[in-house]
């Protein structure tokens, strides 16, 4: 088989620098335009899909294909939401949930990260606490709510504590894993360049554990929302969980949908805030994912 002749491009053969530049710029502009186009298409699809589904839901409910009393049509939910915003009912239930969730999330995260870091750097602490925490992790956190109610009564404390405890365990486990899983070669490099004590912690162990800590924060954001909703089902007469539960008791499906939507938004916002924080605190991880995601 004879080798194929590759077509030579005149501008490269001529060695005309300006022409080569122009061709290069044009090609890279095309490439950029293409990737922009793909990104726009992604966004469009992500918005279009739910809109189509909502339209189907609306039509089905109005035409009686599904029971409109159970599956309130989206427009009905929307107007119910507007009413609840206007009469202050939504805000009155959103605020307590938000406060409980944030207080529990922040305290639980900080405690979990601190304990996790201690366990990560100290073999003694790890050996002492690790197995116990692993065992406790398996306990469904919501199951200890009655005990907390017994101890603290029907106050805010057991609600916040339920969130904090569940968040704590997620963060503690992820932080330990983050420290322990730091690449041995990285640790050796740190040792070779005399990073010890505080500097080892500050420049190597902490940044090394950061990606895992943020994974933990994201997971914890989700589970925190679950826990606070469940707690409010049974132990509160205020909050989004209460709103949803009460809608069942009073048979007010539209109101229930509003509650469900707001709870999901709350979860999404908290997760989004964690992601934004991660971009600020862990810029090297973002750089990494950008590189990996570049191809469609």
């Amino acid at each position: 088989m004879s080798p194929k002749k590759t077509p030579t491009r005149t501008w490269s053969a001529s060695g005309d620098l300006a022409a080569r530049r122009r061709a290069l710029n044009a090609a890279s502009a095309r490439e950029y335009a293409h990737s922009r186009h793909l990104a726009q298409r992604d966004v469009l699809l992500s918005i279009l899909t739910p809109i189509v589904l909502l339209a189907i839901w609306e039509t089905a409910a109005r035409l009686g294909w599904i029971d409109a009393r159970l599956f309130s049509p989206p427009t009905r939910i929307l107007s119910q939401g507007a009413t609840m915003v206007a009469n202050g009912q939504l805000w009155a239930n959103l605020l307590p949930t938000l406060l409980r969730l944030l207080t529990g999330f922040v305290t639980g995260s900080i405690a979990g990260i601190v304990v996790g870091l201690l366990m990560g750097v100290s073999r003694v602490v790890r050996a002492a606490l690790g197995p116990m925490f692993t065992a406790l992790y398996a306990l469904p956190k919501i199951a200890i709510l009655p005990l907390l109610l017994l101890i603290f009564g029907l106050t805010e404390t057991p609600k916040i504590l339920s969130v904090a405890i569940s968040v704590f365990f997620v963060l503690q486990i992820n932080t330990v894993a983050g420290v322990v899983q730091i690449d041995e070669r990285i640790l050796e490099a740190a040792r070779a360049y005399r990073a010890t004590g505080w500097r080892l912690f500050r420049f190597v162990l902490l940044p090394g554990a950061m990606p895992s800590i943020f994974t933990g924060l994201q997971v914890a954001a989700g589970s925190g929302v679950i826990v606070i909703t469940a707690v409010e089902y049974v132990a509160s007469n205020q909050g989004l969980g209460f709103l949803i539960w009460n809608s069942w008791l009073l048979f007010q499906p539209a109101q229930m949908y509003v509650g469900l939507i707001v709870v999901s938004l709350l979860g999404a916002l908290l997760t989004g805030a964690v992601v934004l924080l991660e971009r600020a605190v862990v810029p090297w991880r973002r750089a990494n994912t950008l590189r990996k995601k570049r191809n469609t």
């Binding site: 690449d183 070669r185 990285i186 050796e188 490099a189 740190a190 040792r191 070779a192 360049y193 005399r194 990073a195 500097r199 420049f203 190597v204 940044p207 090394g208 950061m210 862990v282 810029p283 090297w284 750089a287 990494n288 590189r291």
Partner: protein, 265 residues
Amino acid sequence: MAVISSGIRPAFLVEGVSKMFAGRTGEVLALDDVSLQLREGSFTCIVGPSGCGKSTLLRILGGLETATLGTVTANLAATDVPESAFVFQEHGVFPWFTVLDNVAFGVRMAGVRKARREKIAHDWIGRIGLTGFEGAYPHQLSGGMRQRIAIARAFATGSPSLLMDEPLGALDAQTRMLMQEQLLRVWESDQKTVVLVTHQIEEALLLGDVVVVMSARPGRVKEIITVPFPRPRPADLEGTPEFAALRQHIWNALRDEVRASMEFS
């Protein structure tokens, strides 16, 4: 044992070093009775079949690993900086630091102030050809570029000895040649004691004063070759019959060992 030193105290004195790794799967004798003297300011290259303990020997030299038997005495004048700066086989650059912070890490740990260490780092980034990438993270760079960050970090630290474990392995041929020249320049200007592990016999002969040929595992010193070519070594050295003869000699010695190491495992 061949004596390399000429009366003065050697920078590294390795006496009867053996290293045994004990693990769950059994014991591995990585090094067996290795003795070496490395003259201060000398350039030593180590070649040997893979798994023969080259990396282990380098770690022991730098104090990252302790010998099971035998002693290593380092006699290097280092006040604030570590005695040895490492370039690891798998570079070990920090993913969370930019190129600038990675290169400055050694001097930073040595307590050098920000303005000064960044000046040093900038200088070295320029010398290894990464200007413009100061703010980039390692993940954004190619493997060869990361390897160069690790080399710059070691150079910038200013340690009297440089211990390098196949530092040019991930580089393409042209960059490799440029880095070899850079390495020689640093070595000549700063009078550093350099130990370089390489799998390229040519590289060992181009760069080294001395080539240590190691046996298959357990690693022993099979032969110590004093490289006779005067410096500065000409660009066409590789084409000379003397070079070819020495390369053939080392290759013959290695071939038996590589064969042995393959039968062994």
